[in-house]
Symmetry: C3
Subunit: 339 residues, 3 copies
């Protein structure tokens, strides 16, 4: 099982590779809990620019800390968009080659345009094939680490059921627009699950190719607009916020009638977010997951519920954010420094 040279897309990661990363993440996590100073430093002497053209405090700090925990040196370039020579007309390709020529060993990049990570990887393959590219999100494109940390969270908490294909997984809300739903669904189909419950507005569906893939693997899926209809079944719930910035028509309407905005959001949250009614009917062993940020779709009162795993509730409780840190650390280590 070889790690991909670049981390570009969730599609690169099948269950076998993911489990190798998960096991490594567990090892690093345990060593870190004992003594962060004594962690191995396999990235010592390695320089890793974090080129962030787009805002994301969480992903930035997570990447920074992952590099540091492995002994590497992150080079923080926030707001690369405004800051870089782009104002003088520099292309993404030249910026990437410049990083390589400045002796970067890897580049973590975040960009607003879909496809830009692939473009960056292509130019590296051509001119500096020893440099690794990590896609930390490119617009509507990919965000492979978010998928990784989601599945890692399921694996940590439901390992046996996941491996036996016995999980019922609910995806709620922006099925058509959320790239994380797509990546998560694709990997879960590869792994095999018992059933998907797809809760959304009529027509807001997972892409056809993903549904076709599920059918090919004989994984049943149920579409519903009523989140309570099958509320007792799922072992795993994944929610996501209303993504108005991706809705062209609705976006235009709300620009003209901005006072409708809170109403639109509230309605989405009531139908596809966490509610007291849903909380009462969810399995007691279920996981309530959310990629964050949340905008009312995962209310703060849920944070105290033991099933909430998006943020921790103290030292030994589950947190997708913490899982993301160790997933990233393990992935960096395995990619740059081997097993």
């Amino acid at each position: 099982m070889k790690m991909p040279h670049h981390v570009l897309s969730a599609d690169q990661f099948n269950p076998e590779i993911l489990e190798i990363i998960f096991e490594e993440a567990e090892r690093i996590r345990k060593a870190d809990a004992i003594n962060s100073v004594l962690l191995e430093k396999p990235l010592q002497g390695k320089i890793i620019p974090l080129l962030f053209w787009e805002a994301s405090t969480r992903t930035f700090i997570s990447s920074f800390n992952a590099v540091v925990k492995l002994g590497g040196t992150p080079v923080p370039v926030l707001n690369a968009g405004k800051f870089s020579s782009v104002t003088k007309g520099e292309t993404l390709e030249d910026t990437i080659r410049t990083c390589a020529d400045l002796k970067a060993d890897a580049i973590v990049m975040r960009h607003s345009e879909a496809g830009s990570a692939q473009m960056a990887a292509d130019i590296l393959d051509r001119y500096a094939p020893w440099v690794h590219l990590f896609n930390a999100g490119d617009g509507k494109g990919e965000h492979p680490t978010q998928m990784g940390l989601d599945i890692y969270t399921i694996w940590r908490n439901k390992k046996e059921a996941l491996k036996k294909g016995e999980l019922v997984v609910a995806l709620a809300g922006e099925l058509s627009d959320s790239r994380v739903f797509h990546s998560d669904a694709k990997v879960l189909i590869k792994w095999g699950v018992k059933k998907f419950i797809l809760v959304s507005e009529k027509g807001n569906d997972l892409p056809d190719d993903i549904l076709a893939e599920a059918e090919k693997k004989r994984i049943p899926y149920i579409k519903t607009t009523d989140i309570l209809e099958y509320a007792e079944e799922p072992d795993v719930w994944i929610f996501t916020r209303l993504q108005l910035e991706r809705k062209k028509v609705l976006g235009k309407i709300l620009k003209i009638f901005p006072f409708l905005r809170p109403w639109v959001r509230r309605r989405y949250n009531q139908r596809f977010g966490m509610t007291k009614k849903l909380q009462a009917r969810m399995k007691s062993s279920a996981l309530a997951m959310h990629p964050l940020p949340r905008v009312g779709d995962m209310p703060e009162w849920m944070d105290e519920d033991e099933r909430a795993v998006y943020l921790s509730r103290g030292k030994d409780t589950e947190s997708q954010v913490t899982n993301g840190l160790y997933f990233r650390t393990a992935q960096l280590k395995l990619t740059l420094a081997g097993a």
Copy 2:
């Protein structure tokens, strides 16, 4: 004497705790002067995000260097406001919890809204009580380190008089609006001084509760609009710039008549800033202090005067900025790594 778990407000620091920090600051300063490489590294392996939602180069570099001198790893997040997921709707609370889940050992935060540091500390106490919060200024709210470095500067230069309660302290200018004046005054009242000289526009007074506190401790204060009236008395002078951004009415007037702005500022500087006349009459042993930035209220010609201690004049001269660095370093060390 236990250090507070979070550093939120100047009110947390009484003379006893401050002296413990000052003594530690002296130790670190001496060790650093001998060999910065050989400094102890009590924060090794510790990760400390510097979340700056608001601009402040001085506080940012000071915090960064303090963490580095102790062997810790600062995570620079400048312009967190624009950069964070706030644009997608993330709350301060979720950002703080995210930092905790990303294995931050402490957070240094700077924010434009009063009360935000307390809010951040509250959420940490609830979900990640092992993480320390350092308030590096929250708008009109608190900026405890500025108080600490001011008093540290007085302690270094006038220790005996400070401890005997023999100092005459003048505060000049924005008595009503400057949070640093308030914090400094409160701690000096706890410590005991001989007298306050309060120089300001009529009505621009220290808050009533502070004056009441002084009266309770039988510390006399004299209000005057004429900075020269008692010019020979003070052992310590603290100045501050005209803070137009905090003046609602005057601010509006100056928006309509912007050509009045230089005139307003010049008048303030002549009445409540340093002047040649004042310089000539100040005690030869007095300290001229200023929190910086200055806007003409502390003219450059004063920099050569030995009584000026806001910035250094060479290797072994006094500097509030340097004192701030070591105060911060000592505070970080004592808070995170014990005595």
Copy 3:
């Protein structure tokens, strides 16, 4: 041969000093290629703020990595302009003194105003003469490192001819406005070359004092508007992009008729940039150099040509960007830690 205390201007560097830096750069480069972890750390314990008031990803990452390779600690302050206390009215001088008082050992600064680096160095000389200033570009002013890396690139590839004064050097395009052309020309005149070919729009000439200096040293120069006229002669070609931001009249015209912009640029690129015709007629051993960023004046198809040295084409090919990193590293080391 003593290194200058501050690095302010290309004029400080004569061939003797440059060769000392080049030799050191070669040593560091070789050691780094063997094992970056084992590099000497002469800047250990040293703190070096990178104060960038102006955008430049390349210079920022290059400076950051240079400091890191020597074991020092860079303090990243991007967008210092917006971020610093300048909004509250702080002067450049106070920011620089603040850095010194915060125990900076050196400051790398990038600013948009010509002369600001000299101003910063002056204030350091007065108040903190042990702190070194590195000018990483100040507007239309100086950018000494760009000169250094250009000449280093020539030295690496044409050492004998350079030292014997046998090189024919072509400068193409913005002769009057590009500070790098000026710095490069001045140093090459000191070193001695066989001939300059100056290709530009009529009247877009090198400054008179530089031409006078060439005449004094009996170095012939030929002015031409036709880049192909002497295309076979040069051993070294240095190109640069059309710098519209420095053209007042043309800039105003293009603001009124923005649709002319692509046409103006295309015309410049065809006349003073790289073209297929020029490529066909250039000496097979020539160097095609460019300071980057490029805006069509150095087309991507040229990148595969072995004579292109602005960016690398794989592990052991030449790159001005890489040369810049090691030149900077050597300069930092020699300036801060001696030979």
